[in-house]
């Protein structure tokens, strides 16, 4: 993988679309784009086999740029469209790409139900802790005390831990990475796609423009350093005291379970239905 990184990325881009892409200079979305493509390349999947479905948000713009079957759904609903696609054509590799608001504000219900249902989908969530596209309103992952255009006096709500929520809701594979830890992110996305069943990869990312600006972090570099300094590997975290973990978050694999997969189960339903009908 280490060789010709950029060249292989170009193989998957839609060059007839206007590049440079729409994202702000230094936006983490671009880094996740690279990680996703590298993961897919390593998996050796055909472009035709892949569906990338997003919701609405800065992150939601990603599908435009990549040469797969791409879908830009309504805000929060990517997983519902993905569910239909996967059930209709289980041979497709269906990946959804969502923002933190997209996946856990308006789309929170679909998220937990997809986790419960365990269809073989991969949900990549770019968590920049803010509504980027609409101009910096607080999201369900905006930390307590931070500032946002709808939290001018400091945010009074508490943040969801997206990955933890996915675990409780029943996801088969859950991981968290950051755009600073790019190689790890490649691996986590690769593992998520490889995993049969519902996988969640939360990618902590920087929106220095809408989040950073209001929280005294104006540039991508400082935000990436923040990500670097506050991430603790899951294995390491297990050995740490709760106090030491207070302002940290864990990265790595949080859950990896064997659970029956919806499409397999449904095939059994079909078999049962047919044999009962024959009776």
């Amino acid at each position: 993988m280490t060789k010709e990184v950029t060249k292989l990325i170009h193989k998957y881009l839609r060059h007839d679309k206007k590049f440079p892409h729409v994202w702000c200079p230094g936006c983490g979305n671009g880094i996740v784009l690279g990680a996703l493509i590298r993961a897919i390349d390593r998996l050796g999947l055909e472009k035709d086999e892949i569906v990338l479905a997003s919701g609405i948000g800065c992150s939601g713009r990603m599908p435009v740029y990549v040469d797969f079957n791409t879908l830009h759904t309504t805000h929060g609903r990517a997983l519902t469209f993905a569910t239909g696609i996967k059930l209709a054509k289980p041979s497709l590799t269906v990946i959804t790409l969502m923002g933190d608001g997209d996946a856990t504000a308006i789309g929170g219900n679909h998220f937990i139900h997809a986790a419960r249902r365990n269809l073989d989908l991969t949900a990549i969530i770019i968590n920049n802790q803010i509504y980027g596209m609409t101009g910096g309103q607080h999201s369900p992952t905006t930390p307590y005390g931070c500032y946002a255009t709808t939290a001018t006096y400091g945010h009074i709500e508490h943040a969801f831990s997206i990955a933890e929520l996915a675990v409780t809701a029943g996801a088969a594979f859950v991981a968290r990475g950051t755009v600073y830890h790019a190689r790890l992110l490649d691996e986590l996305i690769e593992a998520g796609i490889r995993k049969p069943g519902f996988s969640v990869v939360e990618a902590m990312s920087n929106c220095h423009v809408q989040f950073g600006r209001r929280n005294q972090i104006e540039d991508p570099v400082t935000m990436m350093k923040w990500l670097r300094d506050h991430a603790v590997a899951t294995e390491k975290a297990r050995k740490m005291k709760p106090d030491a973990l207070e302002d940290k978050f864990t990265i790595g694999v949080l859950a990896d379970l064997e659970k029956p997969i919806y499409t397999d189960e449904y095939q059994k339903v079909r078999d049962r239905a047919k044999s009962l009908a024959r009776q």
Binding site: V64, L71, H72, T80, G84, I85, N109
Partner: protein
Amino acid sequence: MRTPSSKNRRLLQGNEAIVEGALTAGCRFFAGYPITPASEISEMLSVRLPQVNGTFIQMEDEIASMGAVIGASLAGIKSMTATSGPGFSLLQENLGFACIAEVPCVVVDVMRGGPSTGLPTNPSQGDVMQARWGTHGDHPIIVLAVSTVLDCFDITVQAFNLSEAYRVPVIILSDEMVAHTRETVALPPVDRVEIIDRVSPSMPSEWYVPYEGNSRGVPTMAAFGEGYRHHVTGLVHDVRGFPTQRADEIQAFISRLFQKITQGFYEIQITKSFMMDDAEVAVIAYGSVARSARRAMSDAREQGIKAGLLQLITLFPFPRRSVESVLRQCRAVLVPEMNMGQISREVKRVNHFACQVEKYNRIDGELIRPDEISGKLAKL
């Protein structure tokens, strides 16, 4: 359930006939969320679809159901959902997506009394205008109304056919009355039913322009995973499917969405005439009320009134031509509805004739009786 097969006749509920129609039309995917009085459609399809290698899924709500229906259709499978008012309201945003991305699909709305939770077990025709205008932004859509159990079968097949032919979501408006009425019907064998499928691209994939209309304004449609990689979005897009803000491209796109329907009026706008040849007064009705109207018309004829009936199957695009010819011919027209007057507004809109248009409305959860209509007719 063991069903008798003597002469192919069956006692079916309206909801059941919709299920049969959908299966016959080739529907192989259903996503839904239970709601009275539409739940039987879900329940029966949960039994039937897996028997034919189809897929049934109960989603967490109607929004999710509509999303899944669109997803399945994009993957090449004919798909459908069924709901009632509250759920129909919820799925409107995604229905708009189906409109703009031209995703064929069928949505059944079994109308019950409204607004809000309203009267869950009573029939109504309160969602007619919503079916046309429920999602934001100007959009074309097809709305069909069923009136008998046999209709439920026939029109469901029609709905899928129109949806596939025009790449447009089609709404079937049923109501609690039609949904739960049982009648003996003889369904045609599958091979006798005309089935239309979307046109798939046949050109090399490099030449595929996903949103370029053919002569009828309808683009060919490639299913995901068939080698025609393309982009689908709810944003206004150019012929390649990519977002655009260029006024000329927007104009061309939205115009085509409407024109494909306008060009198909002849095929899309379905109505039925009864005793209209010499009619001096007419009833214009649809749905379960059309049954009462038919009886009322017979009764009125017996009383010597030259009455006729125009039954609307297609409510939208509003069958203007048929209605206009009735308005041109008749002295007076009565539009009975189980709402405050919705289609009567449309009839009035196109009434440039010397015809008196009267409405008759019932909003108490009861089906309008024939004598109410014939009584009104006698006074016109």
